[in-house]
């Protein structure tokens, strides 16, 4: 009985600790590398956003070199979006990943064509 | 007060035991009920004590039932974490059989058959639904009238009558099934 209470209190404490504000210099080197584009703004982010970014950063080490590059390039723009915009993008991405492979390829081709036209 | 408690303790213990089928729990209930009586009503005239005590006892038994329900849920929830609780895990029927064997040794002048009959009646009582047993015991064993029973149970006289007649029927058929013949 006492053991259960202890375990639960630890769990409570750890969730509370997770939710608290994390200064930039307390992040691990990997976290700092993944979130480098955010180093300046970090202190001004909301707790929720910090938490979200930290959990996103967890996946960083598993990325390929190319993916890491894209990740770092986009992170700044991504975190400037409003929470609603980010949620809309997630919904869109989820919907997009559910369409048939062939359709997806078509869309990707259109986007690539579109981009190459824009480029000088 | 002391005399009163001494007079009622055996019957009260048995009542609790029929309801919870566990002697430790029955003793706990009895102690709780006695403490409440002493705490609140030690200045009341002796004539009022039986009714007050019955009301407290029945409430305590009902509370125990409610707690037991929650406890069962908790025990299931934590069964993997908590070492087995021997008191809670006992088969109620098993404890009844123990009861029949050990706590009614019977006096030499009493027939074995009668001891067995008493054990079977107690067992059948234990199987009744809470309210039916409550009504039956208050009305016929404690000798309260219908109005007093209703007051002790916190229900209408009509419900008391219904509970009593159902209890009597259930007891009769349960005992007949066991081959017990009663007048």
């Amino acid at each position: 009985m006492k053991l259960i209470i202890l375990v639960l209190l630890c769990a409570l404490y750890s969730t509370a600790a997770n939710a608290s504000d994390r200064p930039w210099n307390t992040l691990t080197p990997t976290q700092q590398e993944a979130l480098a584009p955010m180093s300046q703004q970090w202190g001004g982010l909301s707790e929720a956003q910090q938490r979200n970014l930290l959990s996103v950063a967890q996946h960083y080490t598993a990325l390929s070199q190319e993916e890491k590059q894209r990740f770092l390039n986009r992170l700044g723009a991504w975190s400037k979006l409003t929470p609603e915009q980010r949620q809309a993008a997630r919904d869109k991405y989820r919907a997009f990943s559910q369409v048939p492979e062939a359709t997806r390829e078509q869309v990707k081709q259109i986007v690539r064509d579109d981009q190459s036209k824009k480029m000088p | 007060m002391s005399d009163f408690l001494t007079r009622v303790e055996r019957r009260a213990y048995k009542q609790a035991q029929f309801a919870v089928r566990d002697e430790h729990a029955a003793l706990d209930i009895l102690q709780d009920a006695m403490i409440k009586l002493v705490d609140k009503y030690s200045d009341k005239p002796t004539t009022e004590l039986p009714m007050l005590f019955q009301r407290i006892l029945q409430n305590t038994i009902r509370d125990h039932y409610r707690r037991q329900k929650v406890k069962t849920a908790w025990t299931t929830l934590f069964s993997s974490l908590v070492p087995k609780d021997e008191e809670g895990e006992r088969d109620p029927l098993e404890s009844l059989i123990d009861e029949g064997n050990t706590s009614s040794p019977g006096r030499p002048d009493e027939s074995l058959q009668q001891t067995q009959t008493i054990a079977l009646i107690e067992q059948a009582l234990g199987k009744l639904p809470l309210r039916q047993r409550e009504a039956f015991l208050l009305r016929y064993w404690e000798g309260l009238d219908t109005a007093e029973t209703a007051a002790a149970m916190g229900c209408t006289e009509g419900s008391v009558k219904t509970h009593c007649s159902r209890a009597t029927q259930a007891l009769a058929s349960s005992l007949r099934a066991k081959g017990v013949e009663l007048p």
């Binding site: 209470i5 639960l8 | 709780d32 403490i35 705490d39 008191e87 019977g106 006096r107 009668q114 009663l182």
Partner: protein, 117 residues
């Protein structure tokens, strides 16, 4: 008792008599437990002690709360469970969200495709 008589109806009075006989031979262990319970209740008046249950010597089980302190412990336990449950669901949600975020941030399609401006 007259075992040769068999009636359809059961006489509650007879049952009551037998029950009373049943109380007359409780074993000594039970009788002394009863006496102890009675004494505890009677002494309770003088030594009313808030908080702790009186030990009758047969309290080895963890029952449901009897006292204020036990209720307190139960309340803490409940709150902890609810909080833990809520935070578990939140973590699950955040986990799913972070997966999507990483996918968007690393997809070969540019960010703008998914973002409405």
């Amino acid at each position: 008792m007259s075992p040769n008589k068999r009636l359809q109806d059961l006489s509650p009075e007879h049952v009551a008599r037998l029950l009373t006989q049943g109380t007359e031979h409780l074993d000594n262990r039970t009788l002394s437990a009863l006496a102890r319970v009675r004494l505890v209740a009677l002494h309770r008046c003088a030594t009313r002690n808030a908080g702790l249950t009186l030990d009758t010597g047969h309290h080895a089980h963890w029952g449901l709360p009897h006292t204020t302190s036990q209720w307190g412990v139960t309340a803490v336990l409940l709150i902890a469970i609810i909080t833990a449950g809520a935070s578990y669901w939140r973590h699950l949600h955040e986990h799913e969200m972070s997966h999507l975020d990483v996918a968007i941030l690393t997809d070969d399609l540019p960010l703008e495709v998914f973002v409405d401006h």
